[in-house]
Amino acid sequence: MSGFKTNNKVVGWVEERLPIFSMLQHSAVEYPTPKNLNYFWNFGSLAAFCLVMMILTGLFLAMQYTPNTAMAFDSVERIMRDVNYGWLLRYLHMNGATMFFILVYIHILRGLYYGSYKAPREVLWWIGIIIYLVMMGTAFMGYVLPWGQLSFWGATVITNLFSAIPVVGKYVVTLLWGGFSVDNPTLNRFFVLHFLLPFVIFGLVFVHVWALHTVKSNNPLGIDIKTPQDTIPFHPYYTIKDLFGIGVFLMIYMVFVFWMPGAFAEPANAIQANPLVTPAHIVPEWYFLPFYAILRSFTQDIFFISAKLQGVIGMFSAIILLLFLPWLDSSKVRSAKFRPLYKQFFWIFVADCLVLGYVGGQPAEGVLVRIGQIAAAYYFFHLLVLLPLLGKFEKTKPLPASISAPVIRGGGAAAGATAQPMEKA
């Protein structure tokens, strides 16, 4: 509230009753942002922009879609052929989902590289992981709606996973299905939940930004803000930079929408769902492939724990483990810029995720099974073994004194793991 003054009577009248203008002034205009942010800091606002696009296109698609197994596929074709600009809405929504995940993956990788998950940003990181989980649920259910072959069979495979839960598994699956297989009740409830969850994501994003504003943004050097010289006001510097980023993003996005709309789509989903015919290759959407690979890499029953159950546990723990990242990575230095060993292992980790993604998209045959298992094992090795060890033993580079210190990085404290870095702002 402090610091906001206006001569405008209308603004003043509203402000007295709901301090929205001073809130905007504080959070979107004055918000002190490190002046050294690079373009990897654009991806948060890009993801938010993409979320709005998805909700908007989804809303207008929902006006024309029918969530009934007898009519779903037909209603999508009607949208593509008869609804004015229906094809555009559908392709924006379809490719928007892919873009959304690309943006969020880069956003997460930025966090991993620059240590944005470390104190005091643990809660911010957690909210992000929760957003990611809800995104995955939303995307999974959304893919079922067109009721193509992969919509149906993907839903069948993934919902069947829950039968691996000991004792109650079968009942959980029946509850999810609302019947004895994926059928109309399943489709209907997936539609409702798919409609609802994006608004949950929207609320979570609000909390995510709130958590961010509480601790202020990280920066490529990974060191705290010390003086006002380290920061610049969000507006106009980062508003215009974000707008530019949106412009570049839209150009890439539109290339897909207008010229390669099916680039990320599987041909088999252009065939209407048939419960009696299983497609040759059941492939989830690309953004799920690494987890699909982890799921499939467990092939041996161990005592009473079936391979299936191991796969499910492995798949979920791959994400749940990320919640513990601030403690698994014990290094006091945030940014990989000053962690030469961690930097190498970061890129190996990225490569490992890409290998997992590739394996997930191929049939589980031959040497790929072994490669997938090694890649899955490495994923957990990186999180559970490498990171704690690196934190303990890595010799880090000396940190600069501050963000606005001269480029010659001589002014830092002693090199090594005992360096200052975790001072509070």
Partner: protein, 254 residues
């Protein structure tokens, strides 16, 4: 700027990697080159009309095209009267009338393409147990798209290679997964006589009917690609302006 380039490359890499991940192995497909390929591609109307002639005269006797409404055939250059005539060639069940009876009436332009068989089971019964699939989306429903359909149509061979046996009632096709397909070979030279006088080689026939099937799967392609050019032009201008303004505002910081 370097970071930006790296980001774009990363995104492209992910896109490319996912393409590779999702690509399927298979026999080499022949690509005849279609008018609708590429950034500036559009459907060639003459090819669409010839292709429709093939579909109408040959394919539609076994295959349905249920997502294409007769009225949308004006999109390949047919007149409203031609469309009405084609629609009326087949009858569709309607009713009940005031006596409570169902009856048959000729098709109308607003109807969707009337299938050759009243239901899936009748289609299978009339075709040796395998119902011929609907073709509305075929150009999108196979890996390789139009190139696959083209190669498939021309991929029939009189005799299978050494050591390969084809069950009774099926035919050898070198493109079809498993090679034994229930559809008999159709595309031969002079299968139809084109109304516009084009020589009806089997390659021409396959090319034109695939052009029509591509249209039937993606009728919006012409509008989509031309609108895309406008959108990209506009975004280029807008993004350039954003960049210039950004540099302007950040001048004192850098």
């Amino acid at each position: 700027m370097q970071k930006l380039i790296r980001t774009v490359l990363a995104a492209a890499f992910v896109a490319g990697a996912s393409q590779i991940a999702l690509a399927h192995e298979g026999p080499e497909l022949t690509s005849p080159g279609f008018s609708f390929d590429g950034v500036f591609g559009r459907y060639d109307q003459a090819a669409l009309k010839r292709g429709y002639q093939v579909f109408h005269d040959v394919c539609s006797n076994c295959h349905s095209l249920r997502f294409v409404a007769y009225r949308s055939l004006t999109g390949i250059g047919l007149t409203e009267d031609e469309v009405k005539t084609i629609a009326a060639e087949r009858e569709i069940q309607a009713g009940p009338n005031d006596e409570g009876q169902m009856f048959m009436r000729p098709g109308r332009a607003s109807d969707h393409y009337i299938p050759p068989f009243p239901n899936e089971k009748a289609a299978a019964a009339a075709n040796g147990g395998a119902a011929p699939p609907d073709l509305s989306l075929m150009a999108k429903a196979r890996a390789g798209g139009p190139d696959y359909v083209y190669s498939f149509l021309l991929g029939f061979e009189d005799a299978p290679p050494e050591g390969v046996t084809i069950p009774e009632g099926k035919f050898y096709n070198k493109i079809f997964p498993g090679h034994a397909v229930s559809m008999p070979p159709q595309v031969v030279d002079d299968l139809v006589t084109f109304a516009d006088g084009t020589k009806a080689t089997k390659e021409q026939i396959a090319h034109d009917v695939v052009t029509f099937l591509a249209w039937s799967a993606e009728p919006e392609l012409d509008v989509r690609k031309s609108l895309g050019l406008w959108v990209m032009g506009f975004l280029t201008v807008l993004t350039a302006l954003f960049y210039a303004l950004k540099r302007q505002i950040w001048k004192d910081i850098h």
